[in-house]
């Protein structure tokens, strides 16, 4: 039985939604961050699925770039979390509201 492209897409959607749910319900900034990584990966899965099904490598190139960006993002983001933790002694994002008007 051939694996239909829908399966991959639905799997990707499921992972993405898991990531979203995590972002919405977790307080810990690090977990939220990890959820974002999960969402990025779900997007990657979609890209690769299409790349494979269309026989075109450009989707995979994009995944490569996404990985690089994810690495950069993780580096900066975690550095921010460290800096924040030093200041506020917390990584609970509902206690961090310096963006408030």
């Amino acid at each position: 039985m051939q694996i239909q492209i829908e399966y991959y897409l639905i799997l990707s959607a499921a992972l993405f939604i898991i990531g979203v749910t995590g972002v919405l319900i977790r307080r810990n900034a690090i977990v939220v961050f990890m959820c974002i990584e999960l969402m990025l990966n779900s997007a990657n899965l979609t890209l690769i699925t299409f790349s494979s099904y269309l026989g075109n490598s450009i989707g995979q190139l994009f995944v490569f770039f996404v990985m690089a960006v994810a690495a950069a993002e993780a580096a900066v983001g975690l550095a921010i979390i460290i800096a924040l933790f030093r200041n506020k002694r917390t990584v609970n994002i509902d206690e961090i509201n310096i963006f408030k008007w």
Partner: protein, 656 residues
């Protein structure tokens, strides 16, 4: 000389410019030989300009007289003023019988008063300014009189109002009654402006229906065009509002008593002899239109006779010499309007002329008295001035008799003619009120006369030393006295002159011909009736004089007792029926107060500006509200984002 009539208009303007621009410098010209040389030069320029103008008018008069009766209307066109669409208004002068009479009176009396003023204003700080203003006034008045169209007439009309304003407030730092002279001037100007609005609207209506503002065109079209009567009524009513304002009739008369704040020659020239009669002149000028509107004629007559009576009652109790004369002027103007309303246009103009003589004389006499009494104007502090001021006394007596209508002085002829026409053309009631007014006039004039000249002095003779005025002032008095005495003879009624007819009437008759054709008064009246009525009015006048003599010379107690007995009536009259107060309370204060507290402080600042600023503020407020959504909790942003995605996808699904 007719062609030079514009000089009679513009020479006074030249005088105004010279005195106005260089006056303050001329005034300081000094030569040791001639004292007050500067003043003399200024006076010479001022009165000289009017004198020459007078000569030109006389020349034009005789030239016109030499022309056949049907060619006596001439035009002098100077230059175009406004030419837009159908409107073509020029600085053009119409020299005809009516305007010449008026011009003669204005320049003649004006010249006399100018000469008088040289004496009266002697030593005044702003001597030059006074003559400048007077000359400007004559310029404006000449425009009013000689204009061949409504707009130029309006120029004169407003111009004389301006001069009146300036001259009433001439002593701008002097107090007058409860406020200042400048307040009186302002009042005069504003009340006149109310009338002017009527004049303007009348002009607009005329232009709308006759497509022209030139007298000759309008009058010929008024007869030939098919315009409904109510339009004529409207036009003439609007014009009459203008006349009411200028000629101080009810209900716009209130400015004239206050106008006495000005120097006395001004009261004589502007507020007695010339400017205030402009309304009468205007009605006479537009008699064709009035003749088409019988309703208006009736209104004019009613307002005229009512004003005459009303003002006379106030005049009975006033103690300020100029105030008495002011109310008398209002009353006499009422007579003139009565004449106009009765359709006796030339009789009205006749009275205008004689009134100019004797009222100017009365004011100048009053000025001479005030001068002698060191600015004291209250007749209660006069008395026995006969011996101190012989010339003033004599001329004043002539004038008082003339205004009371004692034959054969000028006032008798003119006033009696008006009464006669009001009897024949309007009815008995008008005549009766007229005669009553004449009686009162005689009474208060002689009350004034007796209290001033007869009896014992009621002032401190040791402190006040009344002395006769200089020749510069007494000569004009004498000239005016002669005119007041004999001025009536040019208009002797037919019953006396017989076949010669009334010279004045026949001179003016071409002007009022078309108006008189429209007005048809019927009913024959016998000569006996005329004699009888004349006798009654003369008897009434004599009765008034004798009554005054009895009360104020023999039994002063009667006056006091009457006042005591009718205290409320007296105070009402003394306070001039509280008309000023009523106007203040019902018109002026509400407008000013509501403008201040409602329109400005509330409506403008709070509501309109509040809306503007409120709009600006509400933008800020809404932004502040929206800002509150930024809780800073990233999760809530994410949640909102998800809701957005949900909705967007929902829309996507629906549109599949």
């Amino acid at each position: 000389m007719i062609d030079l009539i514009y000089l009679a208009v513009f020479l006074p303007l030249l005088g105004f410019l010279i005195n106005g621009i260089f006056g303050s410098k001329i005034k300081n010209v000094e030569r040791s030989k001639i004292p007050f040389l500067g003043e003399k030069i200024i006076g010479l320029i001022g009165s000289g300009a009017i004198g020459i103008a007078f000569l030109i008018v006389i020349g034009a008069f005789f030239e016109t007289l030499s022309l056949p009766a049907d060619q006596r209307t001439n035009y002098v066109n100077l230059f175009t003023w406004m030419k837009v669409g159908a409107l073509d208004v020029s600085f053009a002068y119409q020299v005809d019988q009516l305007s010449l009479i008026m011009a003669l009176v204005v320049t003649g009396v004006g010249f006399i008063i100018h000469v008088y003023s040289i004496g009266y204003m002697h030593g005044d700080r702003s001597f030059w300014r006074f003559f400048a203003y007077l000359n400007l006034f004559i310029f404006a008045m000449m425009n009013l009189i000689l204009a061949d169209n409504f707009v130029l007439m309006f120029l004169g009309w407003e111009g004389v109002g301006l001069c009146s304003y300036l001259l009433i407030g001439f002593w701008y730092d002097k107090d007058f009654e409860k406020s200042t002279t400048s307040a009186a001037g302002l009042k005069a100007f504003v009340v006149n402006r109310i009338g002017d609005v009527g004049f303007l609207l009348g002009m607009f209506l005329i232009y709308l229906f006759f497509d022209s503002l030139k007298f000759s065109e309008v009058f010929s079209r008024a007869v030939s065009f098919d315009v409904p009567e109510h339009i004529f009524t409207l036009i003439t009513l609007f014009l009459f509002i203008g006349a009411i304002g200028k000629s101080a009739q009810i209900p716009l008369y209130v400015w004239l008593p206050d106008a006495m704040a000005g120097p006395t020659p001004v009261s004589a020239l502007i507020h007695a002899a010339t400017m205030v009669t402009a309304g009468v002149y205007m009605v006479a000028r537009t008699s064709v239109l009035y003749a088409m509107a019988p309703t208006t004629m009736m209104i004019v007559a009613v307002i005229g006779v009512f004003t005459a009576f009303f003002a006379a009652t106030i005049g009975l109790v006033q103690n300020d010499i100029k105030k008495v004369l002011a109310y008398s002027t209002i009353s006499q103007l009422g007579y003139m309007f009565l004449a106009m309303g009765a359709g006796a246009f030339s009789a009205g103009i006749f009275h205008l002329m004689t009134h100019a003589f004797f009222k100017a004389l009365l004011f100048l006499g009053a000025g001479s008295i005030i001068h002698a009494m060191h600015e004291q104007q209250d007749i209660q502090h006069y008395g026995g001035l006969k011996k101190y001021l012989p010339i003033t006394y004599g001329t004043f007596l002539v004038a008082a008799m003339a205004i009371s209508g004692i034959p054969p002085l000028s006032g008798f002829f003119s006033k009696d003619e008006i009464l006669w026409f009001s009897y024949t053309n309007l009815g008995f009631v008008f005549w009766l009120i007229g005669v009553l007014t004449a009686m009162m006039t005689a009474f208060y004039m002689f009350r004034l006369y007796f209290l001033t000249f007869d009896g014992k002095p009621r002032f401190d003779e040791k402190q006040t030393h009344p002395h006769e005025s200089p020749k510069m002032m007494t000569v004009p008095l004498i000239v005016l006295a002669v005119l007041s005495a004999i001025g009536g003879f040019i208009g002797i009624p037919e019953i006396f002159s017989g076949a010669h007819g009334n010279a004045f009437h026949s001179w003016l008759s071409p002007i009022f011909k078309s108006a008189n054709l429209k007005l048809s008064y019927f009913g024959a009246h016998s000569h006996f009736e005329e004699y009888l009525l004349m006798a009654i009015s003369v008897a009434g006048a004599l009765g008034g004089i004798l009554g005054a003599a009895y009360i104020y010379l023999k039994r002063p107690s009667i006056a006091v007792n009457t006042v005591e007995k009718f205290k409320s009536i007296y105070t009402t009259l003394w306070n001039k029926y509280y008309v000023d107060e009523v106007y203040d309370a019902t018109v002026i204060n509400p407008i000013v107060n509501s403008s201040r507290s409602f329109l400005w402080k509330l409506f403008d600042n709070k509501i309109i500006d509040g809306l503007v600023n409120g709009m600006a503020r509400s933008v800020g407020d809404v932004s502040a509200l929206i800002r509150k959504l930024q809780t800073g909790i990233v999760q809530s942003y994410a949640l909102v984002m998800m809701i957005g995605i949900l909705l967007a996808m929902f829309w996507l699904i629906l549109s599949f």
